[in-house]
Every structure is written in structure tokens, then in C-alpha cells.
């Protein structure tokens, strides 16, 4: 009799566990983690287990460029990726089915014009007659050449441009004296300054907020919006940590760097991360910004890059972020 009761109890327990499991089946999503500071919230959320706590099973891969993540998204291999407005708009123009679900960050504070430490250049005005290394076809190039330099009295022809698309080549080129100045982003700038190699002569915030868009495929938004909301919840928690407890956040980020063999001090990363502005909401200002960017791309400062201004409001999804921010 006792054995029968014990058996029944075990079976009951197993059934309940199975049912509970079936209901709490984890949601699944595939994301791109950026190696620059724009990827910090993802790194932190993964390490601190925020996504798991939202019941989300995250499959993640690192990407050094938002563009590469976008291409993997196009190939159907990723659901979520962060990218700058220009690749986003170009993708829309070409009919890529993706949507912006939030603003990842405003990274103007982490984007700098840098020179060698011992250089005698201190302001952009002194770049007259010098050679500047920059990534062609990016928002950085655009803002530098059409806003920052003219604001310091320089026009086209007053300086020389060297197109170095790969950020990894810009610092060596600068050190090798192949160029006199370069545009570079954090955390590499903070790391370089810490090593006493380079010096920043200014960031881009005066000229452009430089947003980074958090995008998702239309497919995942349609098929599994709960997964996207769960992702955003975990991501928002990481952003909160970055805002409220920056040193703790920087420590988590530094641990991640260590797993890649890099020994960057927490203080350096903290400095870099503080230069980021985390404001996830897609405001009407943001919409206007995107529309202006698109117009510029159509007019084509170089050869008319996109055919027409894409339907931007249709490509934005503010619902999911609202759902994620609610109920906190």
C-alpha cells in the first residue's frame, strides 16, 4: 500500500514537472553581438543571465561590423542586429525585410578624431594640409567631411582623405605615420589613450548624435514577438546597469574582454562606456533624423547611393519596446 502511494506521488510529481516544463518552454532568438561598445548591453545581459531570467534562450555570435550582422540577417541566419542608420536605410531601399525596434545608443561620444600622442595637432582646424584616414561610405565620413571640418573652416581640397574601411587598419596606419589623423571608435580609443599611443582631439556630438539602430527581421516580429519582447527586457536591464552602476557594468564587460585574451583595465572600459548615451526610445526626432539621412543618401554626396527615400514609419516598430518597458 505504501509503495503504491509512493509510486503515485512520484508519477504525480513527474507529471507536474513535465507540464510545468511544457508551459515554461524557453523562447529562442539569434542575435549579433557587436564588438564595439554598442554591443556592451548584449555582452552584459548574456553574462549576467538577464535573458535566461526572461525565459529566453539566446544564440549569439560576435560581429565586428553592423553591416556584417545585417548581411547574416539577410541570409536568414540572425534575428536581431544593431547597425548604423546608413546601412539600415540602404537595406530598406533594397527591400530587406527588417524593422528597427529601438535605438541601441547614440555613439557620437565614442567616435573620435584621433592623432598620435606626440603630434602637434590639437584642433580639427589644424588638419589643413594633412592626411586623414576614415571609413568611406559611413556616417562618420559624412559628418566629418560635411559638418565638422567645414565648421572649422576647412573645405574639400584643404586636406587629403585616405579611405581605410577597416577600423583595425586605421590605428596602425596612424602609428606608422602613413596618415596624420584618423576617425576611431571606443573602446579602441580609450585603450589607445591608455597605452599612450594616441590622443583624441574631439568627438562628434556637436555635429551629429550618431544613433545606432537595433533591428529585427520582420519574420521574427511576426512569428515570435514574445521572444523579441523578452530580448528587449533583458537588454533594457543591462542598459539600466550601465546607467545606474557603471563600474559594475564595466567589470562584467572587462571579463568578457579577458576571454578574448585582452587585458584591458576596468577603468579604461568604464571611461569608454560612459561616453555612450543609452536612450532606447525611437522618438519623432529620430524619425526626422532618419528621413533627413535618407534624403541625403538619395541626393548622393557620392553618386546617388539609394534610389528613393524608403517608407520609414513602416520600418519602425515602437510597440515591442513599449511592451518590454511596461510591467517593470
Amino acid at each position: 500500500m505504501r509503495r503504491g502511494v509512493a509510486l503515485a506521488a512520484i508519477l504525480l510529481a513527474l507529471t507536474i514537472t513535465a507540464l510545468a516544463h511544457a508551459q515554461a518552454k524557453p523562447l529562442h532568438i539569434r542575435i549579433a553581438v557587436h564588438t564595439q561598445t554598442v554591443g556592451a548591453p548584449d555582452v552584459i545581459a548574456i553574462r549576467q543571465g538577464y535573458f535566461k531570467q526572461e525565459g529566453l534562450d539566446v544564440e549569439w555570435r560576435r560581429f565586428a561590423l553592423g553591416k556584417e550582422g545585417r548581411d547574416a540577417m539577410i541570409a536568414g541566419a540572425l534575428d536581431i542586429n544593431s547597425t548604423a542608420p546608413t546601412p539600415f536605410l540602404i537595406g530598406l531601399d533594397k527591400g530587406i525585410p527588417f524593422t528597427a525596434i529601438a535605438v541601441n545608443s547614440y555613439f557620437c561620444g565614442t567616435n573620435h578624431v584621433v592623432v598620435r600622442k606626440e603630434s602637434d595637432i590639437n584642433t580639427p582646424a589644424q588638419l589643413k594640409g594633412k592626411k586623414i584616414g576614415l571609413p568611406k561610405g559611413t556616417i562618420t565620413e559624412y559628418v566629418l567631411l560635411s559638418r565638422m571640418l567645414p565648421a572649422h573652416g576647412l573645405k574639400a581640397g584643404d586636406y587629403e582623405v585616405a579611405s581605410i574601411p577597416d577600423a583595425k587598419d586605421r590605428m596602425p596606419s596612424l602609428i606608422a605615420k602613413a596618415i596624420d589623423a584618423a576617425t576611431l571608435a571606443d573602446p579602441f580609443v580609450a585603450a589607445g589613450e591608455n597605452e599612450g599611443l594616441i590622443r583624441s582631439i574631439g568627438d562628434f556630438c556637436k555635429y551629429d548624435p550618431m544613433p545606432f539602430m537595433l533591428t529585427a527581421t520582420q519574420k521574427i516580429v511576426k512569428d515570435n514577438p514574445d521572444a523579441v519582447v523578452a530580448y528587449l527586457r533583458g537588454w533594457l536591464r543591462a542598459v539600466k546597469l550601465l546607467k545606474d552602476k557603471p563600474v559594475e557594468a564595466a567589470t562584467v564587460y572587462a571579463d568578457d574582454q579577458k576571454s578574448l585574451g585582452r587585458d584591458t583595465p576596468v577603468a579604461v572600459l568604464d571611461k569608454a562606456l560612459r561616453r555612450m548615451r543609452w536612450e532606447p526610445e525611437i522618438t519623432s526626432e529620430m524619425q526626422r533624423y532618419l528621413a533627413d539621412q535618407a534624403k541625403d543618401l538619395v541626393a548622393g554626396s557620392v553618386e546617388g547611393r539609394i534610389k528613393a527615400v524608403p517608407d520609414i514609419p513602416k520600418a519602425l516598430n515602437t510597440e515591442l519596446l513599449r511592451k518590454a518597458s511596461a510591467g517593470r
Partner: protein, 261 residues
């Protein structure tokens, strides 16, 4: 018996025809937006545009010039080095480990060093081509020299030939099939290096530049068109240079069974 030339043309037509059909099927299947997998007519239109405004020829010219210089330098250094390796044991013992260590390292990894030594510009990308093309030439030439039939050398010796004459009339021609294989490999590797290297050439001209620029803006039709041009140039050089060279030398001498026979 079908004439060899006709057979070759039919073969090429079959090969490219099947590939084209497969691509069209994939592109039109709609699994991806047409901007990403453009059908052949879009690719052809993009190429036609570049031919019409003449830019294609400028790009091809710049890239071929870079490959040509790098390849020529690699041949000048690599072939003699490979031959020396085959003849002088101590050189072989010194060079072979170096080649084994350096050959698998991607040229992209050396970019900072090359920028440091050559600055940004054509010299750096030609240096990359040189680096990429060197190793196949060294390895294949060395193998060629070692594979020369000992019998021939002994026969020449018994006929009283000095070592200089043996080298010129026996070893050199004997190794030629392999040297040509080395040239083929070096050419292919040179292309790959130049496409990557044109990124640091800080230039507006070159097929590599076109590929990166079009990728940037998702102009996949231009990108695929440029890749097709690279492939076709590879085919052209294969038929017009390497195969012709083989026909006139090693095939005529009976060292290699000809493709044209």
C-alpha cells in the same frame, strides 16, 4: 572523332550553361530579396553599364597591373629559389621550414606591417600579391626539380655534359611542367591577394575596390558582375597564357599529355 577545339568549346558551354541555370533557379526562387540574389539579366545589365562608361576597363587595368607586377616579382624570386632548393641541400633545409610557416598565414594578418613598411598605396598591395604568389612558385619549382628523371641526368652525364649544361638542358625543361603548375597557382592566389589588398591601396580604381564598394551598398549585381569578370579573366589567362605555354613547350617535348591532343 570530335575535333579537340570543338570539344573544348562544348565543354565550356555545358559547364557555364549548367551553372547559369542553377543560379537563375536560385535567384528567381524568391527565397531572398532580388537585390541580394539578382537574376542574370540584372548582373549583365550592371556589367554593360560599366562597359559603356568605360570604367570596367580602367578597373581591370589597375588590378591587372598590380597582379602582373606582383607575379613577375614572385617569379623572379621564387623560381630560382625553388631550383636552388632542389639542387643544394642546405638551402632546402633553410627555406622549406620558412615556407611551411609563412605560407598558411593570411595576407590580411600582415597588413599592419605592410602599411608600416610601404605606406598606403600601390606598393603595399603589390607587396601582398608578391607574398601570396611566392610560395606556390617556390614549392612547385622545388618539386619539379626533384622530380626530374634521374635517368636523363645520368644519360647526360655519361654523354659528357658538364653540370651547367645538365641544368640548362635537362633539369630546367624537366621541371617546367611543375613550374607552369606553380604559375597557375600563383596567379590564382595573386588575384585573391589583390582583391583584399586593394582595400589598403587607398585608391578609387580596381576590381577589388569595386567589389568592396558595391558590397557596402548592397549593389549585389555589380559585385557578382565583378566576380564574374575575375573568373572570366582567370579563364582567359588559363587558355591564352598557360595552356598556350604548355602547348609550345612541355607538350611538344612530350613531357605532358596535352589538353589539345
Amino acid at each position: 572523332m570530335i575535333r579537340p577545339r570543338a570539344r573544348r568549346i562544348v565543354g565550356a558551354v555545358v559547364a557555364f550553361g549548367l551553372t547559369a541555370l542553377a543560379w537563375e533557379a536560385f535567384a528567381r526562387s524568391g527565397s531572398l530579396p532580388p537585390a541580394i540574389t539578382p537574376p542574370l539579366e540584372a548582373i549583365a545589365a550592371a556589367l554593360a553599364g560599366m562597359i559603356r562608361d568605360g570604367t570596367l576597363f580602367v578597373h581591370v587595368g589597375y588590378t591587372l597591373a598590380r597582379i602582373g607586377s606582383g607575379l613577375a616579382l614572385a617569379a623572379l624570386v621564387g623560381v630560382p629559389l625553388g631550383m636552388l632548393m632542389g639542387r643544394v641541400r642546405s638551402i632546402e633545409r633553410f627555406v622549406l621550414p620558412l615556407v611551411s610557416v609563412l605560407s598558411p598565414i593570411p595576407s590580411l594578418a600582415w597588413v599592419p606591417l605592410f602599411i608600416l613598411w610601404f605606406g598606403l598605396g600601390n606598393t603595399a598591395s603589390v607587396a601582398l600579391v608578391f607574398y601570396a604568389a611566392l610560395f606556390p612558385l617556390i614549392l612547385n619549382t622545388w618539386t619539379g626539380v626533384c622530380a626530374v628523371n634521374r635517368l636523363w641526368i645520368r644519360a647526360a652525364e655519361s654523354m659528357g655534359a658538364g653540370s651547367g649544361a645538365i641544368f640548362r638542358h635537362v633539369v630546367l625543361p624537366g621541371a617546367l611542367p611543375f613550374v607552369i603548375a606553380g604559375l597557375r597557382q600563383a596567379f590564382a592566389r595573386g588575384w585573391i591577394a589583390v582583391v583584399g589588398g586593394e582595400m589598403i591601396a587607398a585608391t578609387r580604381w580596381g576590381l577589388g575596390w569595386v567589389i568592396f564598394d558595391s558590397k557596402e551598398f548592397l549593389n549585389t549585381d555589380v559585385m557578382l558582375g565583378s566576380l564574374a569578370v575575375i573568373g572570366l579573366l582567370g579563364l582567359g589567362v588559363e587558355r591564352l597564357v598557360f595552356a598556350a605555354l604548355e602547348r609550345r613547350t612541355v607538350e611538344r617535348w612530350g613531357l605532358v599529355r596535352g589538353t589539345s591532343a
